[in-house]
């Protein structure tokens, strides 16, 4: 089937449109949304298997041959990310059923949810730099709507800041694409890569470093690296748990994916740009850790943990050898799963207690043991305790760092694990142990049903860690493509 790789984009798009018609029928919306989510998951799974057996898949949309038309490309990296996105979306969806509230459901929540997936899956799959911009905008527009849906004061206030930051970064994206086009005269990512390779025989021209840094700023704003994460704690604080999960687990990772893709495909000659990336990645880890330790607010602790993870992944990318890239891909997938689970768990805690201030929470484990232990496992996985999934990824990244003689970065990554463990254990010890209290919102909270989604994610993440032997071939295939741009170019341009 020629059009296989477009299905994870097309199914949510079609569903989103159908859901607009169903806006008054909540049950109907839920049924359609859940079926489409399952469909997307199956399609994504098939793509991963197809890429595993037949190599990189590409689709020339509208039958215009590459590099003239828009090309969609699924290599193992993007196929895996699309699969994980679909799984997280499924979990968020079943969590939303019990928690999001009828008001939002009537106001096109599920439709916008699906449009967001269109943007995310599209950004992962596209092989055209301008098309990446378009999918970014689809994703951002949906995120604006999701952020503001509900219309409380804090949401409106934070949406304005979030929107302004993203409008500026979009303008910079356009500028970066324009510069790039003026240098290489093409927009197809594979074609750009081969053209840059041609002009970089005698060293990279300075303008390409400028472009590389511009891309770093644009994607760094989305991915929340140091020093561009300033907007994130505020904006991510505002929306309800499932939306926060989508943002925290998916949107920032799209930024990370784009940095990884552009840097490994375009700018692999440019050691200056990679130097900047390394420094920023390490600083992100440091500042993220400071934030995560300092806060006594459970939402903020997890939000700052996003920044740490982004730093760790990008550090792995910036070292650019087999071990570190394999680790980065492995850790990226681990982090998406476990962050989603943690955000959903934090959402449950907030539903029960009505507060996110850790000082006002204690003793949850006496009445909610399931919640407590799921959180415990998720926290251990986040910190990278073997045999859970964070361990393998971090090990490979650190190994790659030491092989690449980047000892400071490797050391900081190792140290950050300890402090991450401290930051999440702080939540566990203060929030779950101690004296049992009664809270306001308790009777209403359907904790058992809410717990299904994060439990699924934690289970998948645990399997992902224990079964790493089985999964590593997939990950190494993804890292291989990132290390050898030739594979990507040949698959797209079919030369």
């Amino acid at each position: 089937m020629t059009n296989l790789i477009i299905l994870p984009i097309l199914i949510p798009l079609f569903t989103g449109v159908v859901l607009i018609f169903l806006n008054k029928r909540i049950t109907g919306q839920r049924v359609v949304a859940i079926f489409s989510s399952i469909g997307t998951m199956i399609a994504a799974g098939v793509i991963v298997q197809k890429v595993r057996t037949d190599g990189i898949q590409s689709l020339n949309v509208s039958s215009w041959d590459a590099p003239f038309g828009i090309t969609l490309v699924s290599d193992m990296f993007s196929a895996l990310l699309v699969l994980i996105t679909s799984i997280i979306a499924f979990a968020c969806l079943i969590y939303s059923f019990k928690s999001i509230g009828q008001e939002r459901e009537k106001y096109y929540y599920y439709a916008v949810f699906n449009f967001l997936l269109v943007g995310v899956n599209g950004a992962f799959t596209t092989g055209d730099i301008f098309n990446l911009f378009v999918f970014f905008e689809v994703m951002l527009m949906s995120s604006y709507v999701l952020l503001v849906l509900g219309g409380t004061k804090i949401q409106l206030r934070e949406s304005i800041k979030y929107l302004l930051v993203n409008v500026i970064s979009s303008a910079l994206f356009v500028v970066a694409v324009a510069y790039l086009y003026s240098v290489v005269g093409t927009l197809n990512m594979a074609h750009i890569s081969s053209r840059i390779n041609e002009i970089s025989v005698n060293g990279m021209p300075g303008i390409l470093t400028v472009i590389a840094v511009l891309f770093l700023i644009v994607f760094g704003l989305k991915g929340a690296i140091f020093p561009l994460y300033f907007w994130m704690p505020g904006s991510y604080y505002a929306p309800p748990a499932p939306v926060l999960t989508l943002f925290g687990a998916l949107l920032t990772k799209v930024g990370v994916y784009s940095i990884t893709r552009t840097y490994t495909l375009f700018f692999y000659h440019d050691m200056d740009a990679f130097g900047i990336l390394t420094i920023l990645a390490i600083l992100s880890i440091v500042f993220g850790v400071i934030g995560a330790i300092a806060y006594w607010d459970i939402k903020n602790i997890i939000i700052y943990n996003i920044i740490i993870a982004v730093g760790v992944i990008l550090y792995g990318v910036s070292v650019l050898n087999t071990a570190s890239l394999t680790g980065a891909v492995y850790y990226l997938i681990h982090d998406m799963l476990i962050k989603a689970a943690l955000f959903l768990l934090v959402g449950i805690v907030i539903t029960i207690t009505g507060t996110s201030n850790l000082r006002n929470i204690s003793g949850l484990i006496t009445r909610y043991p399931g919640l407590g232990w799921t959180f415990f496992i998720a926290a251990l996985a986040l910190a990278g305790i073997p045999p859970l999934s964070g361990f393998v990824g971090k090990l490979l990244i650190v190994q790659g760092g030491f092989e690449g003689e980047s000892f400071i970065g490797g050391f900081i990554t190792l140290m950050s694990s300890l402090l991450v463990l401290f930051s999440v254990m702080k939540i566990f010890i203060n929030g779950f142990w101690g004296k049992d209290r009664t809270y306001g919102g308790e009777e209403k909270a359907p904790v058992k049903q809410l717990l299904i989604a994060p439990a699924i994610l934690v289970a998948i993440s645990a399997l992902y860690g224990i079964g790493s032997e089985f999964i590593l071939p997939y990950i190494s295939q993804a890292a291989d493509t990132l290390l050898n741009p030739k594979l990507y170019i040949d698959a797209v341009l079919k030369e």
């Binding site: 301008f130 911009f133 378009v134 905008e137 951002l140 527009m141 604006y144 709507v145 503001v148 219309g151 409380t152 004061k153 804090i154 409106l156 206030r157 949406s159 304005i160 800041k161 929107l163 302004l164 409008v167 500026i168 979009s170 303008a171 910079l172 356009v174 500028v175 694409v177 324009a178 510069y179 086009y181 003026s182 927009l187 604080y237 607010d297």
Partner: protein, 113 residues
């Protein structure tokens, strides 16, 4: 011609920056509009300003224009149109709810709510 365009783009960007640094929400929105205009002009200029006929198969002309920047600019304009419209609606709603269009007063931390 490219030099002139560079100046125009520079003026647009600096005006946009100035406007976005002000405190009134409406000025900020106008600023984002100007910023995207600057970016769009930049696409057009970066493709190289050329005179010539439309690049259609079978046509016989001395020179052809590059259709790609035009396609890109159109897409970018449509997107910035949508975003600006959304921003306006959002600003209006925020003005109603918060009772202010001064971003200074929108500072606030989570503790206020």
């Amino acid at each position: 011609m490219e030099i002139l365009m560079a100046f125009v783009i520079g003026i647009l960007f600096s005006t946009a920056t100035y406007l976005m640094l002000s405190k009134s929400l409406l000025r900020i929105i106008v600023g984002t509009g100007l910023l995207s205009h600057g970016a769009h002009l930049l696409i057009l200029t970066m493709g190289g300003l050329k005179r010539g006929s439309a690049p259609i198969l079978g046509g016989n002309a001395e020179s052809y224009t590059d259709p790609l920047p035009q396609a890109l600019i159109l897409t970018a304009i449509v997107i910035s149109f949508g975003v600006t419209a959304f921003f306006l609606v959002l600003a209006y709603r925020a003005y109603q709810e918060l009772g202010t269009d001064n971003v200074e007063e929108m500072r606030g931390t989570e503790k206020d709510d």
